[in-house]
């Protein structure tokens, strides 16, 4: 009798453990798929970006730039090239990132007024991207293996079916303590991300304000990031999106920082 009880207990625990593990595995898998859909769409891409930085007083600053991206492989290395067009006094500044998932990124900037190419330190991935509410990591993506994921529930968001996934960093991370991601079941795009601090207070909200299908690929064309603590907000619009242009990797070198490729930069 006792043996049966014990066996049942062990069996029960095993099932729970498996269920939990399976669940974690599913959540992690979902995050990976979402990451691919969001950050690795097609093999390369180009877009004209309009970024509005709105402070808590409602004052707006606008930055416009052209952005090129080339993926070495899905989920693998990526290269980004950014050419600033406005404000006019920073026009012709260019910026390049070589991203290595799980490793350290390399970043360079070209400062035309002094004709210098300078590396930019990548120590702090959480630092702001050109003064916006997006961090460098928000732009290029946080690797899904850095967090533990759990599928909290399946729900709806703005009429769309979503998975709600809770992510907790494996190592202490100053940017957030917990994150909730609302993944669209259909497109797998992260429609909303909510960031929480250690006191459980929500600090930031990322939203995909508009999703359009470009060359058959569901693409977020308007994104926003709201910093609840500072009261500031950044809205990014992606226009003239092009996929699979056949970009070459030699384009993402120091030479092109100083001399932008005229073929893509108008």
């Amino acid at each position: 009798m006792r043996t049966i009880k014990l066996t049942l207990l062990v069996l029960g625990l095993t099932i729970i453990a498996f269920a939990y593990n399976a669940d974690a595995k599913d959540a992690s898998e979902l995050m990976k798929k979402s990451h691919m859909a969001y950050y690795y769409a097609a093999d390369d891409g180009l877009s004209e970006v309009n970024m509005r930085l709105i402070n808590k007083r409602g004052k707006e600053r606008v930055r416009e730039f052209t952005m090129l991206r080339l993926d070495e492989s899905d989920g693998g290395k990526q290269m980004y090239y950014t050419y600033f067009k406005s404000p006019s006094d920073v026009a012709r500044m260019t910026f390049m990132v070589h991203k290595t998932p799980g490793g350290n990124d390399a970043r360079w900037i070209y400062v035309p007024s002094v004709d210098l190419v300078k590396p930019i330190s990548a120590d702090d991935k959480n630092s702001s991207f050109v003064g916006s509410d997006f961090s460098y990591e928000d732009v290029s993506g946080r690797h899904w293996t850095e967090d533990n994921h759990k599928l909290l529930e399946e729900s709806t968001l703005n009429g769309k079916e979503v998975y709600v996934i809770e992510s907790v960093p494996k190592e202490d991370f100053n940017a957030f303590h917990k994150k909730l991601t609302y993944i669209d079941k259909e497109t797998l795009l992260p429609m909303k991300e909510e960031y929480f601090d250690k006191d459980g207070e929500m600090t930031q909200i990322m939203r995909l304000e508009k999703v359009e299908t470009v060359d058959g690929i569901p693409t977020a064309t308007v994104r926003s990031m709201e910093n609840l603590k500072k009261g500031s907000k950044t809205i990014v619009e992606f226009n003239s999106i092009d996929y699979n242009l056949g970009l070459k990797d030699n384009l993402f070198t120091e030479r092109y920082l100083k001399n932008p490729p005229r073929k893509y930069i108008r």
Binding site: N55, K59, V90, V111, V114, P119, I120, S121, D124, G131
Partner: protein
């Protein structure tokens, strides 16, 4: 009318008392609605341009009022142990409700701009985690010294002091937050000392301590006054009346103030302490007269009728003149001073009315049996009487000498008045031994200062603040301001551009300068944001359109005089060196606001004082129906004001807010004795028809009443001299000085003048008939 009121009070004392108690109860019930406001900014109207601009600047550049926390370690502050303690302290301060966490300046929160690997620049937290070695501590110190934005501000150049700047959501919580910070520093503290300073703390703590001081000072004064009066009159029951009158006047005026929706400001919190002596003054005259006459009349009602008859006119006029002094404050352009003036005036009127009604009513309730021995004590043998007789004889014998001495005092006083220095600093409202003063001294001697002013730069177009020509002008203005000893540091957009450029070019000293073209300025700022610089840090120095700049001018001294000298220096530089491209400059900041309201107050007070002086003179001429007596009557008050204020001038004590406001009290109180003296001297003279007899009599009843008043009020406020708040000490000293000086002048100079000019002023009946000419001659030939 007067008679009717007196008769009613005598015949229906219970009704009078019941009505007074009912009204008092109504006003007392207003007290729970009290709204306290200790913000000196409210010394200015809400729409005052300087204040509106200050608020705008705070809004545009997201500036907050802050608490400065100083850590001083004589052996050197940059050790791993101390830096780690500060790290923990900062983390706990971040948890305090009302602290603006994002804007805290501390080693563990500020960004440093430095070179990274491969020629990159990195902007990240100066001390992002706890450290272990002395080398790390030295490195942090070195980085602060290398950074013009942090040097002097975050750490002293001798490495003995570290400062944390804690921005807070509003000034009125700074006292609470500073207490919470104190608890945290007490918990972690080692051998180093922690100081908490800054104008908001001083101002808000002053408000908090002021109310507790008031709760102690006012009752203490009441008790001492009661004991002194008991000593004089030896009959406790009769003293119930003056105490009740004083308390009711305070309750009525404070109750009405609260009822009419006014906030209790630093000024109006002093209403009780001003009202008590004024209210008691009238009663002492009444009781003194009652006391001196009771033995003759033997009946309360008859004595009361006599007392009221004798004192009605002088009491009316002493009250009217004091009301004038205070109501004139309503003409100053400073709202809290206006409220203060009006409600003290209301309190004085209340006290006058209550003295005339409650004093008789309460006296009627005391049985003649209890009063059997009242006034029996032989006053003619007391010390007081002996002293009065001394005054009487000295003033008679040396009358010309006394007049000469008074004239000399006036000359000396006029010189002293010219030495008065107008200055104020809310931090100095605390005694030097107070922790807030200690903190102020310690932090301002080591660091760049705890007083922050802002010089707002207005450009003519967008991006004007990126124009190198404009930036160079701002930079030269910074160097000019830094020449002033009290300017600890100036920080602007210029410093950020220069620092980024310096680090970008591999710490090349030659690049520690502003660039020559606008794009480079813009790109340096872009680099700042690209390299992890917080845009919020940038926008404390410039707005997002780059047409408004903000230069932080950190001062080691918050004295209005010192602040004004810096403003003056900037104005002169701008005048001598016209700025390019139509740049305009305007000041904001709490120290600047303080000099604005001080200026308004000094001008306003001068007007109020002169105005009420003129009104009082006219009243006196009207009262005595004589230009001569009118002019003589204002001598004690003129000499008292001049003596006290010239003493302030000679002592080098700054003329500050409390001292300015006390001029109306001085005016109102120091005329009183003269009114009693002259009015009664003339009345007695009319009665007895003989100068010598009248001269002798005035030193008995009236003289005793005056000297009792001098002693009661002067001594009653002695406890205030031991306050930890300087304005309270000032008020206490003023009561003492006003009473002693105006009492002395009244009891020496007025008799001396009356003796010297007796033939003109108080002619004998036969002289009166013989006309003016002879009077003038006899004056000239008088001994």
């Amino acid at each position: 009318m007067r008679k009717a009121i007196t008769e009613f009070s005598i015949k229906k004392p219970w009704i009078v008392i019941a009505i007074a108690v009912a009204i008092t109860a109504f006003f007392a019930f207003q007290f729970p609605n009290i709204k306290i406001d200790t913000d000196p900014e409210n010394m200015l109207e809400h729409d005052e341009p300087a204040r509106v601009f200050h608020e705008e600047a705070k809004d545009i550049f997201s500036l907050s009022d802050f608490i400065a926390v100083g850590v001083v370690a004589e052996g050197g502050a940059f050790t791993p142990g101390l830096l780690n303690r500060i790290y923990d302290i900062t983390a706990e301060i971040e948890e305090i409700d009302g602290v603006i966490v994002d804007d805290i300046l501390a080693p563990s929160t500020v960004d440093d701009i430095k070179q990274g690997s491969g020629g990159s620049i990195i902007i990240n937290t100066l001390m992002d985690e706890k450290i272990e070695t002395q080398e790390e501590a030295d490195y942090i110190f070195g980085r602060i010294m290398e950074n013009p934005i942090l040097k002097g501000k975050l750490a002293s150049e001798d490495g003995k002091a570290i400062a944390l700047f804690i921005p807070i959501e509003s000034k009125d919580i700074s006292h609470r937050i500073s207490n919470e910070i104190q608890v945290i520093t007490d918990k972690y503290g080692g051998d180093e000392t922690y100081h908490i300073a800054g104008l908001p703390v001083a101002e808000n703590s002053f408000g908090a301590e002021m109310f507790s001081q008031m709760a102690y000072s006012a009752p203490a004064a009441m008790i001492i006054i009661f004991l002194l009066m008991l000593m004089f009159f030896k009959q406790a029951r009769i003293l119930i009346a003056p105490m009740v009158v004083a308390m009711m006047s305070v309750i009525w005026s404070m109750g009405l103030l609260i009822f009419t929706g006014h906030t209790v400001h630093i000024m109006s919190s002093m209403i009780p302490i001003f009202l008590i002596p004024i209210a008691v003054l009238n009663s002492i005259h009444m009781i003194s007269e009652f006391h001196d006459r009771y033995k003759a009349y033997k009946h309360k009602d008859a004595t009361i009728r006599h007392t009221v008859q004798e004192l009605f006119v002088p009491m009316l006029f002493t009250s009217l003149t004091t009301v004038t002094g205070f109501i004139s404050l309503a003409l100053t352009p400073i709202p809290p001073v206006q409220v203060f003036g009006v409600f003290v005036a209301f309190g004085i009127a209340t006290a006058w009315f209550l003295s005339l009604t409650l004093n008789p009513a309460i006296a009627m309730l005391i049985s003649d049996k209890t009063l059997r021995n009242f006034g029996k004590s032989d006053d003619s043998k007391g010390v007081l009487t002996a002293m009065l007789h001394g005054f009487r004889d000295v003033a008679y014998k040396y009358n010309k000498t006394i007049i000469a001495v008074a004239a000399a005092v006036i000359v000396v006083a006029v010189v002293g008045l010219r030495l008065i220095v107008v200055n104020d600093n809310p931090v100095k409202w605390f005694k030097t031994s107070h922790p807030i003063r200690q903190a102020d001294m310690a932090m301002n001697s080591h660091l760049a200062g705890t007083y922050m002013n802002y010089l707002v730069i207005e450009g003519d177009d967008f991006d004007a603040l990126k124009n190198p020509e404009n930036l160079r002008y701002v930079e030269s203005l910074q160097r000019e301001l830094e020449k002033a000893e009290i300017v600890g540091a100036t920080t602007g957009l210029t410093d950020i551009v220069k620092k980024v450029r310096f680090e970008l070019f591999g710490a090349d000293p030659a690049k520690k300068a502003l660039p020559d073209n606008q794009n480079e300025v813009a790109q340096m700022l872009f680099m700042f944001e690209m390299s992890g610089g917080n845009p919020d840090d940038l926008f404390k120095f410039v707005n997002t359109d780059y047409d408004l700049g903000n230069l932080w001018v950190q001062l080691k001294n918050g004295d209005n005089m010192a602040v004004a000298s810096v403003v003056e220096r900037a104005n002169k530089y701008i005048e001598d060196n016209p700025p390019p491209n139509g740049l305009k400059f305007e000041w904001a900041g709490l120290p600047y606001i303080n000099i604005i309201w001080q200026q308004k107050m000094v001008d306003g007070m001068r007007g109020s004082l002169l105005g009420s002086f003129a009104v009082v003179l006219i009243m006196m001429i009207f009262l005595f129906k004589s230009l001569r007596w009118g002019l003589i009557s204002i001598l004690p008050l003129s000499i008292t004001i001049m003596a006290i204020y010239s003493f302030i001038g000679y002592m080098g004590k700054p003329y500050d807010m409390p001292i300015a406001v006390l001029s109306s009290l001085t005016l109102g109180l120091s005329i009183d004795f003269a009114i009693h003296f002259i009015q009664r001297l003339r009345a007695i003279h009319k009665r007895v028809g003989n100068f010598k007899e009248a001269y002798h009599e005035i030193f008995e009843g009236a003289g005793r009443a005056i000297s009792r008043n001098v002693l009661v009020i002067a001594i009653g406020f002695v406890p205030m001299l031991f306050s930890s708040l300087v304005p309270y000490i000032t008020v206490g000293s003023f009561f003492l000085a006003i009473m002693l000086v105006s009492g002395m002048v009244t009891m020496l100079l007025l008799p001396a003048i009356s003796v010297t000019f007796r033939k003109t002023l108080l002619p004998e009946p036969e002289e009166r008939k013989s006309g003016k000419k002879q009077t003038a001659e006899s004056t000239a030939t008088a001994k």
